[in-house]
C-alpha cells in the first residue's frame, strides 16, 4: 500500500507570496472566430489519416493561408532586392528587372512547375499531378491567397517599369516574364497542360 502522496497547492505556505484572488486566475479566452470553412466542406473528403492529428488531407492547400506567410513572402522579395542592389555592377534599372525576373522565375518553378507534395498525403496521391497553384484551397478559385499571389507580380512589374523608366528592352523582358507567371494563374488554365508539357 503506497503512502498517501503529499498534496500541495499554490497557497501562501508553499510560495511565500500573497496568493492572488480567485478571479484573477482566469485566463483570457483568446481564440477569435473568423474562419470560412470552404475548404472543409468542398475539399475534405473522408480519408484515412495516418500519423496526423487533424483531418486536413493535404496541408499544401492551406499553407498559403497560414499566419505570417504573406509577410514572409514580401520580406523575401525585399531581401532579394536588397541583395541585388548591393552588387556594384548592376545599375538600378537592371536590378529591378533582375528582381522581377528572378521572382517570377522562382514563382513559376515553385507554383506552376513542381507537382505533387513533398510529403505523403493520405488521399492516395490525388494531388500528384497538380501543381501547387492548382492545389491551393482544393481548386477553389478567387480565394484571398490566389488574389494576393496574382497581384504581387503585377505590383512588382509596375515598380520595375517605373524604375527602368519604361525603356524598351527592359519593358519587353519584364512583360514576357510577367505573362509567364500570370497566364498559368488563369482559372481557365486550371489543370491544363499545353502540348503535354509537365503532364506526368
Amino acid at each position: 500500500m503506497q503512502p498517501k502522496p503529499k498534496t500541495w497547492s499554490l497557497t501562501t505556505e508553499e510560495t511565500n507570496l500573497p496568493s492572488p484572488p480567485l478571479e484573477m486566475n482566469r485566463q483570457i479566452i483568446e481564440r477569435v472566430e473568423d474562419y470560412k470553412f470552404l475548404g472543409n466542406i468542398i475539399g475534405n473528403k473522408n480519408k484515412m489519416n495516418v500519423g496526423v492529428a487533424h483531418s486536413e488531407v493535404n496541408p499544401n492547400t492551406r499553407v498559403m493561408n497560414s499566419r505570417g506567410i504573406w509577410l514572409t513572402y514580401a520580406l523575401g522579395v525585399g531581401m532579394l532586392h536588397i541583395v541585388l542592389l548591393s552588387i556594384p555592377f548592376f545599375s538600378v534599372p537592371v536590378v529591378w528587372t533582375l528582381t522581377n525576373i528572378i521572382h517570377n522565375f522562382g514563382m513559376y518553378v515553385f507554383m506552376h512547375a513542381v507537382k505533387g507534395t513533398p510529403f505523403e498525403t493520405p488521399d492516395q496521391g490525388k494531388a500528384r499531378l497538380l501543381t501547387h497553384w492548382e492545389q491551393l484551397d482544393y481548386g477553389v478559385q478567387f480565394t484571398s491567397s490566389r488574389k494576393f499571389f496574382t497581384i504581387s507580380p503585377i505590383i512588382l512589374y509596375f515598380l520595375a517599369s517605373f524604375y527602368t523608366k519604361y525603356d524598351t528592352t527592359h519593358f519587353v523582358i519584364n512583360t514576357a516574364s510577367l505573362l509567364s507567371v500570370l497566364i498559368p494563374k488563369l482559372p481557365q488554365l486550371h489543370g491544363v497542360r499545353i502540348f503535354g508539357i509537365n503532364k506526368y
Binding site: M1, Q2, K4, P5, K6, T7, W8, S9, L10, L17, P20, E23, M24, R26, Q27, I28, I29, E30, R31, V32, E33, D34, Y35, F37, N40, N44, K45, N46, K47, M48, N49, V50, G51, V52, A53, H54, S55, E56, P59, R62, V63, N65, S66, R67, G68, I69, W70, L71, T72, L75, G76, V114, K115, G116, T117, P118, F119, E120, G125, S144
Partner: protein, 561 residues
C-alpha cells in the same frame, strides 16, 4: 484572411445573442473582447469580470457548472516569419542535397528500386519522400526511442548513437536509467510492475494463461470478460458495456456497425485517425466542423436537417456527432454541455471518444461526463480506451442495453478479432476497482486528486515561465509550442541530455507553424519530479528561446528575479 491558431473559432458557443446590449462582432462574438487581447497583464482587474461572464457566455445559460478556461495564444508574427524562413532554408538545402545525391557526390541512403525493375512504372514518387529524407531524417532520433523498463514516472531508455546522421542507429549497450517520463499516457500512474494490480494480473496468468485462442463469439468469452464488462458499465454509469482488444479497432470497427449509407456523420476537425477511418469505412457522408466550435456544429446540423441528403433531399437516416473528450494534440476539452444541448434539440446521436479523458478528468475519475456533472445517459455511445489511465490495453463501448446487444453480434471486432488477454482484463478490473474505491482503499481517489493537482501546478508554472501552452486548464495533456523546425529536434535532444523524456511533434502531424512538445502529466509524478522537470524545461527553454508568451506573469517574474 490569414488563419492562425487565434483566428480559428474559439469560443464557438451555441448561437445566442447576449442580452446586455453589447453589439456582437463577427459570428456573434463579442467585439470588445478583441481589444482586451493583448493589453492585459495576466491578472484580470475587476472590470474584466463582466467581460468574462459574458464572453464565457454559456455560463449565463446555465450549461456550465464550472469555469471553462482554455487558451490558444496566437503565434507571434516574428516567430511565424522565422519559422517559414527555417522551412525555406531547409527546403533549399534539401534540393541541394538531392542534387548531390543524384550526381553521386554524396552517398545515397534512401532505398532504391531493384536493378531489374528500373524500367517499370515507379512505385513511389521521389518528391513525395522529400520531407522525410531531408527534414525528418535529421531529427529522427527524438522518436521511436526503445525503452527497457515499465513506462512509469521514470523509465529506462536504451542508449543509441548514429554514425551517419540518423540513417542508422547503433546501440552502445548502455541503458540511460531514471529518465523522467513526460511522454507516456500514464495519467493515473497504473503503469507499474508492482502493487495490487500487477499481482492480480500475474495470478490470473497462472490460472488462465496468456492467450485466449479464439474470438468473443466463439470460445473466447471468459468469465473475466463478463465481469470486466459489468464493472465498466458500473464505472461509467451506463446500462451495459463491451470491451475490445484494441482501442483503434474499437473505433474503426464499431462506427461502421452503427452508421451506413444515408447517414450523416459530423466529426470534429481534429478527430483521431481511428474515428476518421471508422467514419470512412462506414460509407456515410462525413462533414467536418471546426474544432470545438459549437456555432459551426449547429449550422451544420441545421443545414443537414433542412436540406437533407445531397441530391435527393430525403431526410438523413441518422445523424451522428463524433467528438473526443480530450484532444491529445491540442489539450482541449470538448464543450460537452453544449454538444448535448444541440444533440437534444436537433435529435442527433452523440459518439464520445474518451480515450484520453476517462480516468483523467472528473472528481471521481469517471471522465468528461463526470467533469461537467452531466448524465451519462445523455451520451448515446460512450467509447474509451484502457490504454491511457488504466495501464492496460484495449477499448470499450458503453451505452444502452439494446445498443450493446446489437454491437455484440454486429461488430466486426466482436466477430473476428481475438478477445482480450486475461492478464490485461485483470489489470483493467483491478485498476477500475481501485479508482472506484471498491478495493477498500482510498488509493484511487488519491490518484485522481493527485493528477488534478499535478495538472494545475504544472500548467500554471509553465505559463508563469512564459511558455505558450495550449488547451484547457484542467487537461493533463500539455502541448507546449516550439514553432521552429530546428527547435523540435533540439528540444527533444536537450531534454534527453538532462534526463527527461518528452514527445515532440511537428509538421505534417500538426499545422506547419505549430510544432510542439507534448507533456502528459501523471499521478505517479511526485512534486519533486515535476519541479526537476520544470526547472529543466525552463533551462532548455532559455537556451532555445522558446518562451514566446506575451502574457508573462510580471509580478512572479519580478519576485523570482
Amino acid at each position: 484572411m490569414t488563419e492562425s491558431s487565434a483566428n480559428k473559432p474559439a469560443n464557438g458557443q451555441v448561437c445566442h445573442r447576449v442580452k446586455n446590449g453589447v453589439k456582437p462582432g463577427r459570428n456573434g462574438f463579442i467585439k470588445n473582447h478583441h481589444h482586451y487581447h493583448h493589453q492585459q497583464p495576466m491578472y484580470c482587474y475587476p472590470e474584466d469580470k463582466v467581460q468574462h461572464t459574458t464572453c464565457n457566455g454559456s455560463s449565463g445559460l446555465g450549461l456550465y457548472s464550472r469555469p471553462f478556461i482554455e487558451s490558444f495564444e496566437e503565434t507571434p508574427m516574428l516567430v511565424a516569419v522565422l519559422t517559414y524562413m527555417g522551412y525555406g532554408i531547409l527546403t533549399i538545402f534539401g534540393y541541394l542535397r538531392d542534387f548531390l545525391r543524384d550526381w553521386k557526390i554524396e552517398r545515397c541512403h534512401v532505398a532504391r528500386e531493384r536493378e531489374e525493375q528500373r524500367d517499370f512504372v515507379p512505385l513511389y514518387q521521389d518528391f513525395e519522400n522529400f520531407y522525410t529524407r531531408n527534414l525528418y531524417m535529421r531529427i529522427r532520433d527524438s522518436w521511436n526511442r526503445p525503452i527497457c523498463s515499465v513506462p512509469g514516472a521514470k523509465v529506462d531508455l536504451v542508449e543509441r548513437v548514429s554514425p551517419d546522421y540518423n540513417w542508422t542507429f547503433d546501440y552502445t549497450g548502455k541503458v540511460v536509467e531514471g529518465v523522467i517520463n513526460m511522454g507516456s499516457y500514464n495519467y493515473l500512474g497504473f503503469a507499474e510492475n508492482t502493487g495490487y494490480c500487477a499481482d492480480a494480473s500475474a495470478e490470473v496468468t497462472m490460472k488462465y494463461g496468456v492467450g485466449v485462442a479464439s474470438t468473443r463469439q466463439e470460445m473466447g468469452n471468459l468469465d473475466r470478460h463478463e465481469e470486466m464488462e459489468e464493472l465498466v458499465a458500473k464505472f461509467l454509469g451506463v446500462e451495459s458495456a463491451m470491451a475490445f482488444g484494441m482501442g483503434f479497432a474499437t473505433n474503426s470497427m464499431n462506427i461502421p456497425a452503427l452508421t451506413g449509407k444515408g447517414c450523416l456523420i459530423l466529426s470534429d476537425e481534429l478527430n483521431h485517425a481511428s474515428l476518421v477511418l471508422g467514419a470512412r469505412l462506414s460509407g456515410s457522408t462525413i462533414r467536418v466542423f471546426k474544432h470545438n466550435n459549437m456555432q459551426s456544429l449547429e449550422k451544420m446540423l441545421r443545414d443537414a436537417i433542412v436540406h437533407g441528403q445531397p441530391r435527393t433531399h430525403r431526410p438523413w437516416k441518422k445523424i451522428l456527432i463524433l467528438v473526443e473528450g480530450i484532444y491529445s494534440m491540442e489539450g482541449s476539452i470538448v464543450r460537452l454541455p453544449e454538444v448535448i444541448a444541440l444533440k437534444k434539440r436537433y435529435r442527433a446521436y452523440l459518439y464520445l471518444d474518451e480515450a484520453h479523458s476517462i480516468g483523467a478528468l472528473g472528481p471521481g475519475g469517471r471522465g468528461v461526463v463526470d467533469y461537467f456533472g452531466l448524465d451519462p445517459r445523455d451520451v448515446d455511445v460512450m467509447m474509451g480506451t484502457f490504454t491511457k489511465s488504466f495501464g492496460a490495453a484495449g477499448g470499450y463501448i458503453g451505452g444502452r442495453k439494446e445498443l450493446l446487444e446489437y454491437l455484440r453480434s454486429h461488430s466486426h471486432s466482436a466477430v473476428y478479432a481475438a478477445s482480450m488477454s486475461p492478464p490485461v482484463v485483470e489489470q483493467i478490473i483491478a485498476s477500475m476497482k481501485c479508482i472506484m474505491g471498491e478495493d477498500g482503499t482510498t488509493l484511487g481517489r488519491d490518484r485522481v486528486q493527485q493528477l488534478a493537482e499535478n495538472t494545475l501546478y504544472f500548467r500554471r508554472r509553465l505559463t508563469e515561465m512564459g511558455f505558450i501552452i495550449y488547451g484547457n486548464n484542467d487537461s493533463p495533456v500539455v502541448p507546449m509550442m516550439l514553432y521552429m523546425p530546428a527547435k523540435i529536434g533540439a528540444f527533444g535532444r536537450e531534454m534527453l541530455k538532462r534526463n527527461i523524456g518528452v514527445v515532440v511533434v511537428g509538421f505534417p502531424a500538426t499545422p506547419i507553424i505549430e510544432s510542439r512538445a507534448r507533456f502528459c502529466i501523471s499521478a505517479a509524478h511526485t512534486k519533486d519530479m515535476l519541479d526537476t522537470a520544470l526547472s529543466v524545461i525552463s533551462e532548455v527553454g532559455d537556451l532555445l528561446q522558446v518562451k514566446y508568451s506575451r502574457h508573462k506573469r510580471l509580478i512572479y517574474d519580478q519576485i523570482q528575479d
